[in-house]
């Protein structure tokens, strides 16, 4: 009887694994489809823009032949479906095309790669810092709910969220460099100069993580199962660690992959005040300058990052929450 039970559960598990694999393939297909739609839409919309934008300041003085040559060089003389096909063909080879205006005729991959590296490096470190500070901050506030550490923390969080970030970013840059010898500008080869940008990047997320962690923990603390755990005789500390903290962390988990991946977008403001050569504001810049190939490339990258982030978040959720099953509806017991 016993052996049969284990055999049964084994075969069941195998079946479940197959379902999970199927689900992942399905989700991946859906992700590719969404990407295709996004890119195609953006590509077509960009083609609706007036061609004068591509030709520089003295459009009026150019002869028809010169204009035609310039458009032909960008591949704009062909019909839109052909352009789209060419774009996808190059994409399949890993070629995102060349920049038109931002840095004329330079490979987009070459422009973006070092920028992404810098933004992602600073972003990842800032995120690590904000998790390491923000989560314990929220946990501490939940444990001391209503007492002074909680009130102090709430004040800190409200200030960070309510005050325009420019105020404290500039404050940090001006006053933290005095006396500490920390440099005011970013220098890729001097890690000491990374400190202030990282702190500035981390501050808003510290407030965010702290706020949500506190809120989720307070939610969990009022649950019946926490009361039962205490009635069992589990010490307060153990209840907090094994039950409350663990369960409150679950809803936080889902957003972590997205947040991490999105660090490659950089931060417009922090990067500009420390003159970090990162991705911050690049998309806005190339849109304004009508550098279509750059816009397409960036939209493609950011959209992929968004979709992959959500997907990874979902998978992480399955790992930490047994109630969620990737196998979907109809199979709930």
């Amino acid at each position: 009887m016993l052996r049969r039970v284990t055999l049964f559960s084994l075969s069941k598990r195998k079946k479940e694994d197959e379902k999970v694999a199927k689900y992942i393939v399905k989700r991946f297909g859906a992700a590719l489809l969404s990407l295709f739609i996004i890119i195609t839409l953006i590509f077509c919309l960009l083609r609706l823009m007036p061609i004068e934008g591509y030709l520089g300041a003295n459009v009026d003085k150019l002869s028809e032949e010169v204009i035609a040559a310039k458009l032909a060089a960008k591949g704009l003389d062909k019909p839109v479906p052909v352009q789209l096909f060419n774009f996808y063909r190059n994409l399949a080879r890993g070629d995102l095309g060349k920049s038109w205006i931002y840095r004329e005729n330079v490979d987009i991959v070459k422009i973006i790669k070092p920028k992404i590296k810098i933004s992602a490096k600073l972003g990842a470190m800032a995120m690590a810092l904000s998790l390491v500070v923000g989560i314990p901050l929220g946990a501490l506030m939940a444990r001391t709910k209503g007492k002074w550490p909680d009130k102090l923390g709430t004040g800190f969080i409200v200030f960070l969220q309510a005050a325009p970030s420019a105020v404290y970013f500039l404050f940090i840059q001006m006053y933290a460099t005095k006396g500490t010898g920390l440099p005011m500008l970013y220098n890729d080869s001097k890690p000491i100069s990374w400190i202030l940008p990282i702190i500035s990047l981390a501050l808003p997320s510290i407030a965010n993580y702290g706020m949500w962690m506190r809120r989720y923990m307070v939610d969990q603390m009022n649950q019946d199962y926490v009361k039962l755990a205490r009635a069992k005789g589990v010490s307060n500390k153990a209840v907090m660690m094994k039950h409350v903290f663990r369960n409150a962390f679950v809803p936080m988990v889902q957003t972590i992959p997205s947040s991490l991946l999105f660090t490659i977008m950089g931060s417009l403001y922090v990067e500009s005040i420390y003159s970090v050569p990162g991705m911050g504001g690049l998309l806005i810049d190339v849109i304004q300058r009508q550098d279509n190939t750059m816009v397409q490339a960036l939209v493609l990258i950011f959209a992929s990052v968004g979709i992959i982030g959500l997907f990874l978040g979902d998978i992480l959720m399955v790992l930490v929450d047994p109630r969620i099953s990737l196998t979907g509806k109809g199979e709930s017991r």
């Binding site: 755990a229 005789g233 047994p322």
Partner: protein
């Protein structure tokens, strides 16, 4: 049956207060009660009468804004010669010696009283580790044993599952299994069947009763379901407005009730109603416990109230060695007041039944 030597818990003039929105609420107003080893006591009363609050004092789980204002709670379970006064327990460390180990609890809603992210086995083992010093393999083996004990089939496989894979009745069995894993002396069941459907209710009550017999537990049921009470209790304590107004054996309270509130409570039972008559309902609302209550708390809703009921609080009068009630009607000087028709009816049934 009720000699003083086997008292396990003795409450003396307990007052519990809460601070709510800057005002003080008198939740428990001077309860005295003895609990005997191995007995099954039911505490009945309407919502807000303080049933749960009263028992939470035995396990140190009063909400943060509540406190024991005065009174004593002597617990004899650890060493009958050196009882401890739970009313004086303040710190977590002190309560850790009581919670689970001595007094365990089964709560109302099994759907929410288990941690959704931990396996059933884990949650039972947590209690085993704390109270029986078991670890690893031994703990998980014992957990499976306890699950079998509370009537969960395929316990070995079920122990690896999560709460969402269990039905409500099964979850309540798991909650009971957790309480049993603590190996307590007193088991408080706070409306253990309210959230379950009727067919499951009887099973769960039967389970608790079997475990009580098997392990010699002392059980306290909190309920407003008198049907449950009749099933499980040896003794009944009737609570009203933070006070026990009548206490006696099941038989005494059901067939010979003395307090007007108990009369009213029984009269409003649909099962006891007389066919063709409207179902009795107690008029008015329970008193506001923010106010100081003068006299008998039930007097304003009692059509048979005496003048003294509004002025002086009645003491307990003994009806029999096991039966007492807090009502001036039992004072020798009180005029003779007849209980309502339904109560007289029940009495007759009982007397008739005995004669047959």
């Amino acid at each position: 049956m009720l000699n003083n030597g086997d008292i396990i818990l003795s409450v003396k003039d307990l007052h519990v207060k809460f601070s709510l929105r800057g005002k003080v609420l008198n939740a428990i107003r001077g309860i005295s009660l003895d609990l005997h080893k191995g007995e099954s006591l039911a505490i009945v009363g309407e919502s807000g009468s303080g049933k749960s609050v009263f028992t939470k004092n035995f396990i140190g789980l009063l909400d943060k804004n509540g406190w024991v204002d005065s009174g004593e709670i002597w617990y004899y379970g650890m060493d009958p010669d050196h009882p401890v006064d739970l009313a004086k327990y303040k710190t977590e460390e002190q309560w850790q010696t009581i919670r689970g180990k001595e007094v365990a609890m089964v709560m109302q809603d099994p759907m929410t009283s288990l941690n959704p992210l931990k396996t059933i086995g884990w949650q039972i083992e947590e209690a085993l580790k704390l109270h029986q010093g078991l670890k690893g393999e031994a703990a998980s083996k014992k957990a499976v044993e306890i699950l079998q004990d509370v009537g969960i089939p395929e316990a070995e496989r079920r122990a690896k599952q999560y709460p969402h894979e269990f039905s409500g009745g099964m979850r309540q069995r798991v909650v009971i299994a957790i309480a049993m894993a603590c190996n307590p002396q007193i088991l408080i069941c706070d409306e253990p069947t309210t959230a379950l459907d009727v067919t499951i209710q009887a099973q769960i009550l039967q389970l608790i009763r079997n475990l009580k017999e098997k392990y010699g537990l002392t059980t306290i049921y909190i309920t407003h379901d008198l049907g449950v009470v009749a099933n499980v209790a040896d003794r009944i304590a009737v609570m009203y407005a933070g006070d026990i107004v009548e206490v006696g054996t099941c038989e005494e309270v059901f067939y010979d009730p003395r307090h007007p509130y108990t009369w009213a409570l029984l009269s409003s039972l649909p099962q006891l109603g007389i066919k063709g008559n409207d179902l009795y309902a107690i008029k008015g609302t329970p008193p506001n416990l923010f106010n100081v209550i003068r006299g008998d708390a039930f007097a304003p809703r009692n059509p048979r109230a005496l003048k003294i009921d509004f002025e002086h609080r009645p003491p307990y009068f003994d009806v029999s060695p096991t039966h007492k009630a807090r009502t001036w009607l039992l004072d020798p000087r009180a005029p003779k007041v007849d209980p309502p028709e339904i109560i007289r009816h029940i009495r007759n049934i009982h007397v008739g039944g005995v004669e047959e």
